[in-house]
């Protein structure tokens, strides 16, 4: 039994009087791909933002490998660097080319020399199949290409784990395939991933585990097969039936 790469223990998150997470616990093993599903407002995105401390939890503890990242005094910027995040809206830096988007973190955060950063950034762009678009600005790329650049940007930081927040929800249907293909390739290379997505085909093929959340708690989790074929809870069944249609 290997030690987990991520351990979330009883995480709560409130915004004022609004309780979004009401005690979530989850353990992720290295190389595991976990797909988070659930109705909107169930707290999936909030959970991802708690994990990389963009919105630290109000209560509960999170460990990344051996380090408790919710402990006081932890360098949060350093933690975020080792947790890659991909957003629904891509959030590419508008004023930089694809290459610049991948390079900026290498230069400013990883303090690499320009030419080293350039070479690594080109390598990451090649990994997502976009080396030939290196000098395009975000506005000159399709949605699918933007999202692949965003993945390359996150990979450049050499993350221990990658979080995907509905990476294909903002894309036209014909563009989701190229992004999912890149994610599938990453999974095959052994990247640990937590993916919030309603792409059930992806969940079936790539996920080791599917976690169903509702109202700020984990209702049920299991292998894709269990979850899709014999969910225990009625709520899980109802939700999955709905999105499969």
């Amino acid at each position: 039994m290997t030690s987990p790469i991520l351990r979330i223990e009883d995480v709560h998150k409130s915004y004022g009087s609004l309780q979004v997470l009401k005690g979530v616990s989850l353990t992720v093993q290295p190389r595991e791909v976990v797909v988070l599903v659930g109705p909107s407002g169930s707290g999936k995105s909030t959970l991802l933002r708690c994990i990389n401390l963009l919105n630290p939890p109000t209560k509960g503890r999170i460990w990344l490998e051996d380090q408790e990242i919710t402990a006081p005094g932890v360098n949060q910027d350093r933690v975020r660097q080792s947790i890659g995040m991909v957003f629904q809206e891509f959030n590419l830096f508008t004023h930089l080319t694809a290459l610049g988007n991948v390079m900026i973190g290498l230069v400013k955060v990883r303090k690499m020399r320009k030419h080293e950063a350039h070479d690594l950034a080109m390598f990451e762009l090649e990994r997502v199949g976009l080396a030939d678009r290196a000098h395009y600005y975000p506005a000159q790329l399709s949605g699918g290409q933007k999202q692949r650049v965003a993945i390359a940007r996150a990979l450049g930081m050499d993350p221990h784990i990658m979080l995907f927040d509905e990476p294909t929800s903002a894309l036209d249907p014909e563009l989701t395939g190229e992004v999912l293909a890149v994610m599938q390739k990453l999974a095959a290379e052994g990247m640990t991933m937590i993916v919030v997505s309603h792409e059930m085909g992806f969940a079936r093929q790539v996920a080791n585990r599917v976690v169903f959340m509702e109202d700020g708690v984990v209702v049920e989790e299991g292998t894709p097969q269990q979850m899709f074929e014999q969910p225990v809870h009625e709520r899980t069944r109802a939700f999955l039936r709905n999105i499969m249609q």
Partner: protein, 224 residues
Amino acid sequence: MHDFIDLLNKVTPDLWQGTVVTLQIAVVSLALGMIVGLPIGVGRVYGPVWLQRILGAYLTLFQGTPLLIQLFVVYYGLPDIGVTLGRLQAAFLTLGLNSAAYQAEYLRSALQSVSEGQMTAARAIGMSKWQAIWSVILPQAVRLALPAWSNEAVAMLKYTSVVFLIAVPDLMGQAKILASRYFAPIQIYLIVAVFYIVLVGIAYLILTLIERRTRIPGLTGDAA
């Protein structure tokens, strides 16, 4: 007509000298305004609340009172508290601090129009808040503020003319002297107006060029 050309020949050298002074005041004041205005604009958006309040008071003071009063206070008022400035220094300081208030406001609205996702993405790759502001938000905001900033630069060329009231020999100051020397105020003020128009035209050309050179597809509205 002959008289007019004669007059033009007589006044042009002095007006050139005035032009140099006007340009000097405009450039120094804009630069000072930028150096002071940039941190104010950033502080207004990203600073702690107490700082935002103080900066807000500064802006109210400079945007809410006439430039001429500011100039008189700096030139005639500051000596009372032991700060005596030369005429040019008073002009630089007043116009610079005044311009800082306007430049800060242009920058503030540009900073606020950069989408929140840019900050989130920068933090997500491990940048600190100030790193993100400096490397991601500001480069975009400065480009977005450029059109408004261009208007400020052009307005500055004309605002400088108030300094003749503390006897700085700028374009306007020279005009006043020449008008009484040659008893031809209308002709001379018209000539000076043409000088200002040419200056403004050149400034527009330069600024348009800068806007074009720094343009990025998708950032300033026009697609690729």
